[in-house]
């Protein structure tokens, strides 16, 4: 298999934005809606959107054709929760735009200006078939962290697909910490904030902005109006079973709220209630340790059991890897399939597992009409793989975003080439490019 190699200087220029129309033929085609792969498949992308994908799709005249040679072809993967694109090196705080402990703002914070398409994490994850990601801020001085975005991992300078796509909130132990030390304090903070948002919505001009002495500045209140009116989803990090029920109960107070749970390691124990509330979940995958007292019941079977109970569940990554390793979601999904052979465990079949890293997280975010599958009308994010994308070691061979082919060489590839033979030659290593 050959990765598409390009000279570093020409990165971006070799892939003109005009090339948004393409057909991929002769594919073991995965649509990403939960169904199994079909042989002899074709995807047609015109002007950046999928026109058709399936077994008996004809290619219109004049459309450039990429022959997949029988290889697996899938939608680009959708990272359901991440911090990709706003962090370069976690340990170098200047490069980490996910949190601002010294800021008077909370809900107002908008990650979209901070998304940098040149981030190493974007290149590395694009090279492994991740084409879109949910990018969230971190909470600091409040239970509200701010407004997250949906981004594409393309090489061009226009990375944000949907700015201010959701509000992120934390509850549980972290929420308690941000609110001064307890869960009840977090709920009190939340309730007070909701009063203030309603005040602001009724009469924005007369909202008393007390600046950094308030729980909520004018800008924060403004950012929360679309949340209480249900125009923008509220993603809530919550793990413990009883905490999940408290969060679901918020809909009684604010009926229009479009809740999405993030993490939800004990979700399986209250799956019936989550399903009844029709609240989607972006669940941590393969989380099986009682890492805290909020996740004593954690098990790898969490996602399988929630799915079986009728919950819409996708994979989200909220852990130490969230800024750099979205690519691991393929390994996570493959492991969920492995669980189907483990007695007493609840796994997912291949199609369902693939859906947790494609269509389901997109649907959870309310953008399933645009991303996460090759159903007609979706953005033309297509990946050709050299094997089963859920199996360890499969590589993305060609990556298209909005129908535009993407470069997939990373600086790690360049380091490997330089050092595949570690010894210096006629010149120092620094001259070897």
């Amino acid at each position: 298999m050959k990765k598409l190699l390009i000279a570093a200087a020409a990165m971006g220029a070799a892939f003109p934005a005009a090339a948004q129309t393409v057909a991929v033929t002769n594919a073991r085609l995965v649509v990403g809606d939960g169904s199994a792969p079909v042989e002899g498949g074709t995807v047609v992308v015109r002007d950046g959107r999928v026109v058709a994908a399936g077994a008996n799709v004809s290619v219109p005249a004049g459309v450039p054709v990429v022959d997949a040679g029988g290889r697996w072809v899938t939608p680009g993967l959708f990272a359901g929760f991440s911090r990709v694109g706003i962090v370069e090196v976690d340990g170098v705080s200047e490069t980490d735009d996910s949190a601002a402990g010294g800021s008077p703002f909370n809900a107002a914070i908008d990650v979209s200006p901070a998304v940098n398409p040149k981030t190493s994490a974007i290149t590395v994850n694009r090279a492994e078939g991740i084409t879109r990601a949910v990018v969230a801020p971190e909470a600091r001085g409040s239970v509200f962290a701010g407004q997250g975005a949906i981004i594409d991992l393309g090489v061009d300078m226009d990375a944000v697909s949907k700015p201010r796509a959701f509000q992120f909130m934390v509850y549980g132990e972290e929420g308690g910490r941000r609110a001064g030390g307890s869960r009840p304090a977090a709920i009190a903070m939340l309730k007070n904030i909701l009063f203030e948002v309603r005040d602001y919505a009724r009469a924005p001009a007369s909202f008393a902005d007390r600046g950094k002495d308030a729980l909520l500045t004018r800008a924060d209140a403004q950012a929360l109006v679309p949340v209480v009116t249900g125009q923008v989803p509220l993603l809530v990090h919550v793990e413990r079973a009883s905490d999940i029920l408290v969060v679901l109960d918020l809909k009684r107070e604010v009926p229009a709220l479009k809740l999405v749970l993030v993490g939800a390691n004990e979700g399986w124990t209250v799956a019936r209630q989550i399903a009844a509330a029709k609240v989607p979940v972006l669940a941590s995958a393969l989380s099986d340790l009682p890492a805290s007292f909020e996740q004593l019941a954690a098990t790898q079977s969490n996602i399988g059991r929630m799915q079986a109970a009728g919950v819409l569940v996708g994979i989200g990554m909220i852990n130490d890897d969230e800024a750099r390793q979205a690519r691991l979601i393929k390994q996570y999904a493959g492991n969920l399939v492995a669980l189907t052979k483990v007695p007493g465990a609840s796994g997912l079949d291949w199609g369902q597992a693939f859906a947790t890293i494609s269509s389901r997280p997109a649907e959870a975010m309310g953008v399933g009409g645009d991303y996460g599958s090759l159903r007609p009308g979706r953005r033309g994010d297509v990946v050709v793989w050299d094997g089963d994308p859920l199996e360890i070691g499969t590589a993305a061979v060609r990556v298209f975003i909005d129908g535009v082919e993407q470069p997939i060489e990373t600086r790690q590839d360049q380091l490997r080439k330089r050092y595949f033979d570690p010894k210096e030659g006629a010149l120092p290593k620094a001259y070897q490019r």
Binding site: V92, P290, G393
Partner: protein
């Protein structure tokens, strides 16, 4: 050369004889030879917290028709493995079933030695991760070779069961963290639950010393306004400490040989003396190529050997240097970018070491990663293949078997499926390089301690008893 410390307590005879400085008094005893010291290594007990681990009972077991990766580079298709009384008896193409043996047909399955992880903090940073359990870094000073990770190990850490059932891990080294330049002693454990740490301790395994270079120590102590706060500070403190250790060793060596007043006992220096004497193995957390090169020179300066560099993200840049020094590297498959020193990670790191004939192995440093080390070495193999270097399955499995066993000084007794070795065995329900495969059965010293088909053979630590999810398949 690393000596194995015998499981029974070494003699602790501290002879309080006094050296005679002047001419001997004339008497009947005046022709007796001068009083000798207590003898080499007999000045104090080198094994005061001995292992009390005993293998659990097993039954003679024959696996047949199974693909064998023996952990030393051997592979047998549709072969057979027989173990009995805790030991491997025979590995071959076909073995007659002894009377009364349990015979397991391994068609479509693989058998390997139990996975060995040389870098874990299970027990000393257990789950739940609360501060009352945060016992992995004695971060009150950068030089703490006197602390021993085993004195922090909580044997009820739920993480041990996950490593066994999901990961097929049968032996692991618990290390102090990397806040300190000299973090303290590590301990090698059998992955078998016990009421006490000593009940888990791998019998006869030598001790390790955890050291760290790079960002962590200088960040932790620089942040407190003390040395080290720079990389040069790291090395300066290291060198001064080794110089003190050499002096300590000289005094104790002399006393043990010649007798006289024993020198003052220093727990920190005991550990470093053990390294200088070749008894204790150095495991040095170090990411950058240039820093590893400096550490290798420091080891030569003070006459000790670096056993294994841990993490060694840039090991690929100096594979030739590592090979020339006989120093191993324990690495991840694909961790990168979380610190400046991990910025230059490549997925082919371990493969490049293999290609260059250097010693390399996988490790986890993570309670989740330890559950998937077979998948991690699969990642390396696949990356290598794409880069044009094909590594057969049986060679790659060494990274999780005989090579970490050697790094821990226990390769004489485990780390491969060889007659006479401990029956630390994993039967996988498919090809272990596949994401779709899990351990089906795990034996430690021939005792079946995990069986995916038998809920009774699924350990639940004290902590998890009676909790939400207690006894669940995790």
């Amino acid at each position: 050369m690393i000596r194995i410390i015998i499981g029974t307590a070494a003699a602790a005879a501290l002879a309080a004889c006094s050296a005679t400085a002047g001419p001997k008094p004339k008497s009947a005893a005046s022709d007796a030879p001068a009083k000798k010291g207590p003898g080499k290594n007999k000045g104090y007990d080198h094994n005061p917290y001995p292992s009390t681990y005993k293998p659990y009972p097993g039954v003679p077991t024959l696996l047949t028709n199974v693909t064998i990766l023996d952990g030393e580079g051997g592979k047998i298709e549709r072969g057979a493995v027989l173990f009995r009384d805790g030991k491997i008896v025979e590995v071959g193409q076909s073995i007659a079933a002894p009377e009364g043996a349990t015979v397991i047909d391994g068609a479509g399955k693989y058998v390997t030695p139990g996975i060995i992880d040389v870098h874990s903090h299970l027990g000393d940073y257990p789950t739940p991760s609360v501060s009352a359990h945060s016992d992995g870094n004695e971060a009150t000073g950068p030089v703490t070779p006197e602390v021993w990770a085993e004195h922090s190990v909580w044997p009820q850490d739920p993480g041990f069961s996950r490593a066994l059932a999901n990961g097929g891990v049968t032996t692991l080294q618990i290390l102090p963290g990397s806040a300190n330049l000299f973090g303290g002693r590590g301990v090698t454990l059998k992955n078998v639950y016990a009421r006490t740490m000593q009940g888990m301790k791998f019998p006869g395994a030598p001790y390790g010393l955890k050291m760290a270079c790079g960002e962590n120590p200088k960040r932790v102590y620089g942040g407190k306004g003390r040395m080290p706060s720079t990389r040069m500070g790291n090395i300066a403190v290291d060198r001064q400490t080794w110089a003190r250790a050499q002096d300590y060793k000289k005094r104790w060596d002399r006393y043990e040989e010649n007798g006289g007043e024993p020198p003052a006992r220093d727990m920190a220096m005991d550990t470093l003396r053990g390294v200088l004497a070749g008894e204790i193995i150095v495991h040095n957390h170090c990411y950058r190529a240039d820093e590893m090169a400096i550490v290798l020179d420091m080891a030569k300066e003070f006459g000790y050997k670096v056993g294994t560099f841990h993490h060694a993200v840039e090991a690929y840049k100096i594979a030739d240097l590592l090979k020339a020094n006989g120093t191993c590297a324990a690495v991840w498959a694909d961790w990168w970018g979380f610190k400046m020193e991990s910025y230059d990670a490549v997925s082919e790191n371990l493969a490049i070491l293999e290609r260059e004939g250097a010693c390399g192995m996988i490790h986890s440093d993570d309670a989740n990663g330890i559950q998937r080390l077979n998948q991690e070495i699969a990642k390396v193999r696949a990356a290598a293949k794409r880069a044009g270097f094909v590594i057969p399955e049986e060679i790659a499995w060494k990274w999780a078997a005989i090579t970490p066993a050697k790094a821990l000084g226990i390769d004489q007794v485990t780390g491969s499926l060889k007659a006479g070795k401990m029956a630390d065995v994993v039967l996988w329900n498919g090809n272990p390089f596949s994401v779709y495969t899990r351990p089906e059965k795990v034996w430690v010293d021939g005792a079946l301690l995990f069986d995916m088909h038998n809920p009774k053979l699924r350990p639940v630590s004290d902590f998890e008893l009676g909790q939400p999810g207690s006894g669940d398949v995790k």
